[in-house]
């Protein structure tokens, strides 16, 4: 019969350790740190785009629409469909698309969920 209660020492040592919970979002909003290369919300640089439409063809969920403006064809990203896979940024030949570290992507108005 083995001795019961093997965990007692570990459990009482944890009484004096700092808690493992981060009190996000009400109290400790700044303690969440994300590494570089985290895949968040899309950012688009208009001056680098050449209108090749590769991003729209590669996107797995059809989250990119192509519209025409005064300088030629350009994409419009729908954030509510995006799955943050980074395939558009990887396939873009001029590196006009970048993924930032913003991860809180909910809004009350639909207009905030487009990147133009």
């Amino acid at each position: 019969m083995k001795k019961p209660g093997v965990m007692v020492g570990e459990v009482y040592r944890n009484l004096f350790r700092k808690r493992a919970t981060i009190l996000y979002p009400f109290k400790e909003k700044d303690k969440v740190h994300l590494p570089d290369g985290y895949r968040g919300r899309i950012e688009f640089y208009r001056d680098k785009c050449i209108g090749c439409q590769i991003c729209s063809r590669v996107c797995p969920v059809k989250a990119i629409n192509i519209i025409e403006d005064e300088r030629g064809k350009r994409p419009v990203f729908m954030i509510y469909r995006c799955i943050y896979c980074e395939q558009c940024a990887e396939s873009c030949p001029t590196k006009a698309i970048k993924l930032t570290k913003v991860f809180e992507n909910i809004a009350f108005e639909k207009e905030k969920l487009f990147v133009r």
Binding site: P4, G5, V6, M7, V8, V11, Y12, N14, L15, R17, R19, A20, T21, L23, F26
Partner: protein, 322 residues
């Protein structure tokens, strides 16, 4: 006339129903917070300062939910069971010596009365499970009675060894017999350990929460109750926790005795009682944190193979010494 009014206030307000109710909610907060700290997390945090109003918030929320009665259940019994459970728990807690050496209700032989009431509470659990006519409830109720067969005899034997050491079966005389030394420092230590473990089985907490196993039978005998009836069951369970902790403090740690200033006796006795019962509660919470849940046949086999012989040995030791 004044005495009747004072007695009335004593039963209802202090140290009667309202005081016991609020104290049991406070104990549930301590239990949840300590359990969370042992697991390196936070516990209740936002309802009141440090989450101290969380059990009260849970109780009020449950009172406002919808009350569903299954079609095939016996309506009268189904409604009466939570009320009986709750009132029995309150009744037995009124016997504890909180503000003085006598409880509010105190008569010769009240230790036997308390044990009988605890058995009736287990029978109430069985009837609540059976009257719900749901498969999970039937299994939970049957497991509750099997568990009663396991833990009741060691529980009573440990209480009997205390009764033999103090030569009486009345709670106030047991408290008085500890004036010089508390029973936990005498050779009654085995009875203390068995009392803690079987108390945990009485309260249906891990490692003995088999009738209410969440993972297997989805809350067991309590599964069909909702709304006000569930609120009364949970509140009754909290009061029973206060009772077991208080009984442990009375029988082994000397009850409300301690150094007193004459004149402030009521206040100091209450404070000593609360501190001692919180100590027992913290030990019960630690037991809850370090074990896995047992199976029902393993509970019975452990209980009859190890606990009963140990408590009989304890009885022999006490009979020889005292």
């Amino acid at each position: 006339m004044i005495e009747i009014l004072l007695k009335f206030i004593e039963i209802i307000v202090f140290p009667g129903f309202i005081f016991i109710g609020l104290l049991s909610l406070f104990y549930e907060w301590i239990d949840r917070k300590f359990y969370a700290k042992l697991q390196n997390r936070v516990g209740p945090l936002y309802a009141g300062p440090h989450g101290i109003l969380q059990p009260l918030a849970d109780f009020i929320k449950l009172l406002s939910k919808e009350d569903i009665v299954p079609e095939a259940a016996d309506k009268i019994l189904f409604t009466m069971m939570p009320i009986i459970f709750f009132s029995l728990s309150l009744l037995i807690t009124l016997n504890l010596p909180i503000t003085s050496i006598h409880g509010i209700i105190s008569f010769k032989g009240d230790l036997i009365f308390l044990v009988a009431m605890l058995t009736i509470i287990s029978i109430v659990v069985y009837v609540s499970g059976e009257v719900s006519t749901s498969r999970f409830a039937t299994i939970g109720a049957e497991r509750a009675i099997l568990q009663l067969l396991g833990y009741e005899i060691p529980f009573m034997l440990s209480l009997i060894s205390i009764a033999i050491s103090s030569n009486s079966i009345t709670l106030s005389e047991i408290v008085l017999a500890q004036k010089n030394i508390w029973y936990i420092f005498t050779p009654n230590i085995i009875a203390f350990i068995i009392f803690l473990i079987t108390g945990q089985a009485e309260l249906e907490r891990i490692p003995f929460d088999i009738p209410e196993a969440e993972q297997e039978i989805v809350a067991g005998w309590i599964v069909e109750y909702s709304g006000k009836k569930l609120a009364l069951f949970r509140f009754g369970r909290d009061i029973e926790t206060l009772f077991i902790a208080g009984l442990g403090a009375t029988l082994f740690l000397g009850g409300p005795l301690g150094p007193v200033i004459p004149g402030l006796e009521t206040l100091l006795y209450t404070i000593y009682f609360i501190i001692k019962s919180i100590f027992i509660l913290l030990i019960l919470t630690t037991i809850r944190a370090i074990f896995a849940r047992l199976r029902i046949d393993q509970v019975l086999s452990i209980s009859w193979k190890y606990f009963i012989p140990l408590s009989l040995i304890q009885l022999l030791i006490v009979r020889v010494i005292y």
